[in-house]
């Protein structure tokens, strides 16, 4: 079943015949790591990883995480295998030939390896996911060659202040690279900070860097003029380097070993000091890039520069996650604003209902306009019909708002969401003047999304 339209990942069920209770436990192989001051089992049980991109690098990271039997995994990828995938991905010929969806297939493999891990798969782009889809994850791994997805993932992690690990390769020079963005504050770098002109151009023209080398295609078709070419071993190396950095962060090893720090997953982690004894010259907030150059057999760790002044992303906004005071559909937006306490008060608040727009006016077939003032899907037909042509009034782009100010909502701001067209609201973002916004989750997020792993255990 396609789960793209819901905006949430679907949980991968354990397949019949797998012995969950009698399976191997990580303790049987996990070494007694030098300098480990924490309960590794507890940390890995708690760890929830989201992996954006389940291709040659992302799949290897996912399988590695599954072998560590982490607590939760979310796999996001809108692509499918091609025969050429066999050359770089850890898959079998029949899986490539069947053009299986990457995320769902990676999810199945992970679940088979680690039935105790709660695995979620989303067969679509990160951009199509609900606003709260990454809430509750301790760390996000970015393993995609899609520039738009890189920006989106970077932006979401910045807002949620969730650490982001980016794994990438440069096939022509046999370079594997891992970037660690801690996202502790607005001053650190994000993936978009280091985009070069060609990558921006790639984004602008809607083309994507692809491994399969297919020709130029329109935006969204997931093909590009400039293929990312690599080898299976280089992709595997990048994945392994990323996984080691993640393990160090989660278990508080090496530069992440900070006195008094008990849980990376629970506390968000402390920044490693620049130039520590362990040799990680971390940049502002602990951001760094680890690069292995195959030609020289050298690994170099360099601090990542602070936020680039020309970065296209807003680093300052912070999204906090919260539960609504009542079921979301029963709440009014003014009630949510009161609960969120946005800077500037209700007058300066604005709201985004995920997946919906607030339609101020609609137009019918004969061109008549009518005030609607309800939440609706973009372009959807309303209930009211035109007296002249009999056609419904449809929300039109100029008169709809994805983010709507309290001032534009007028009296609707005090009515329950279910009475203003948003009965099925998944989550609502309440923002104010102080760069801080509160994300209220409800509905689907609690039932079938990765949020189920945190507040809504099933």
């Amino acid at each position: 079943m396609n789960n793209v339209h819901s905006g949430y990942a679907r949980e991968v069920a354990a397949e019949a015949g797998w012995q969950v209770k009698n399976g191997a436990h990580r303790r049987e192989r996990l070494p007694q790591l030098v300098g480990l001051a924490r309960d590794a089992d507890a940390e890995l049980d708690r760890l929830r990883l989201a992996i954006i991109g389940a291709g040659s690098v992302g799949l290897a990271i996912a399988l590695s995480a599954a072998r560590l039997q982490v607590g939760g995994l979310l796999l996001v990828d809108g692509g499918r295998y091609k025969m050429a995938s066999l050359l770089t991905h850890g898959i079998l010929p029949h899986e490539a030939a069947a053009a299986l969806p990457k995320a769902a297939h990676a999810g199945r493999l992970c679940k088979q390896i680690s039935p105790r891990t709660r695995v979620f798969a989303y067969d679509g782009p990160i951009q199509a996911m609900a606003m709260d889809a990454l809430v509750g994850f301790d760390l996000v791994v970015l393993a995609t060659d899609n520039v738009a997805a890189e920006i989106e993932a970077g932006l979401r992690c910045l807002r949620l202040r969730t650490p982001l690990v980016q794994a990438a390769v440069h096939g022509e020079t046999l370079v594997a690279q891992v970037r660690f963005y801690r996202n502790a504050d607005a001053g650190g770098a994000c993936p978009a900070c280091s985009l070069n002109r060609a990558e921006i151009e790639m984004l602008t023209t809607g083309r994507e860097l692809k491994c399969d080398g297919t020709g130029a295609a329109p935006r969204g078709a997931r093909a590009g003029a400039v293929p990312t070419r690599s080898t299976s071993c280089l992709c595997g190396l990048a994945a392994d380097l990323a996984m080691i950095e993640i393990l160090k962060y989660v278990l508080g090893l090496g530069p992440w070993a900070a006195p008094g720090r008990t849980s990376a997953a629970a506390s968000g982690g402390a920044a490693p000091a620049g130039g520590t004894a362990c040799g990680t010259p971390a940049g502002r907030g602990g951001d760094y890039v680890l690069e292995y150059a195959g030609y020289t057999s050298k690994a170099v760790v360099t601090p990542l520069a602070s936020r680039a002044s020309a970065c296209v992303c807003d680093h300052a906004a912070t999204w906090l996650s919260a539960s609504p005071p009542r079921p979301l559909a029963a709440c009014s937006l003014s009630e949510l604003a009161e609960a969120a306490g946005p800077g500037g008060g209700l007058d300066r608040a604005w709201f985004t209902v995920d997946g919906m727009v607030f339609a101020l006016a609609g137009v019918c077939s004969c061109g008549k306009r009518r005030r609607l003032n309800v939440f609706t899907a973009p372009g959807a037909a309303g209930h009211e019909r035109c007296g002249a042509c009999g056609e419904p009034f449809c929300a039109e782009a100029f008169f709809w708002r994805r983010a709507v100010a309290a001032e534009e909502l007028k009296e609707q701001v005090n009515r329950p969401l279910r009475e203003i067209g948003a009965a099925g609201a998944r989550c609502v973002l309440v923002a104010g003047d102080d760069n801080r916004a509160v994300l209220f989750s409800g509905g689907l997020a609690g039932r079938s999304g990765p949020g189920a792993m945190t507040a809504h255990g099933s």
Binding site: I151, I200, T205, R219, V312, C313, D314, E396, R402, A403
Partner: protein, 217 residues
């Protein structure tokens, strides 16, 4: 008492600076536009970065309206997205019904929408402009119904300035730039109109006048 019949009313046409569009930053807003900008900025919401960007874009199109005879702004709002309702003196082809002759309206009322996403995404070319009036626009790159969005291209460059959108809209509506190939999904929102204009290509463009030239009438 002055003889009123002796008075001649002349339309004051804006003076285009010799530097053209490069002069926009130095154009001083007139009182009307200054007040409009101030009122819109008072209700502007969003991050400081987005508020500053909206202000700069709004100021620029207001300045553009002062040097361009064919462009006039009626309203600007900046609550979340930057929105402007503007009049564009441009020939607009309209067809009220299949059995009616093609009419060419002398101007269009357009809604301009500039969302924050434009800063970090390559936003589709249909997301910026809607022809609010006249209705029944008969143009390959303008959808019939649904608020008549104008397609300016498959995706606009990241961070494209709003003034560029205005000028692209003029080019699109006047058919100085037009995409008529219905088999190419990039741009055609009305396949029937595309076919019509392929047959009647001798009428294209509807004007050769440059955006900054004086408007007819």
């Amino acid at each position: 008492m002055a003889d009123i019949s002796m008075l001649r009313v002349e339309r004051v046409r804006p003076v285009v600076p010799p530097e053209g569009l490069r002069a926009l930053p130095s154009v001083e807003l007139n009182k009307r536009n200054e007040a409009m900008l101030k009122a819109a900025a008072a209700g502007s919401l969003g991050s400081p970065m987005w508020r500053a960007r909206k202000y700069a874009e709004a100021r620029e199109i207001l300045a553009l309206s002062q040097i361009a005879d064919r462009f006039r702004i009626f309203e600007i709002r900046m609550h979340t997205d930057l929105l402007a309702v503007a009049e564009l003196h441009v020939p607009v082809p309209c067809l009220e019904g299949p059995d009616r002759p093609l009419q060419v309206a002398p101007k269009a009322l357009v809604g301009l929408k500039y969302a924050e996403a434009v800063l970090s995404e390559a936003v589709p070319g249909t997301a910026f402009v809607q022809v609010l009036a006249p209705m029944g626009v008969w143009h390959a790159n303008v959808a019939r119904g649904f608020g008549q969005p104008v397609c300016l291209g498959p995706a606009m460059p990241l961070g494209i300035p709003l003034r560029e959108i205005v000028i692209l809209t003029y080019g699109a509506l006047s058919m100085q730039t037009v995409q008529l190939d219905p088999s190419d999904a990039a741009g055609v929102l009305n396949a029937e109109a595309a076919q019509y204009w392929q047959v009647n290509h001798d009428r294209i463009p509807l004007t050769r006048a440059a955006f900054l030239s004086a408007a007819e009438g």
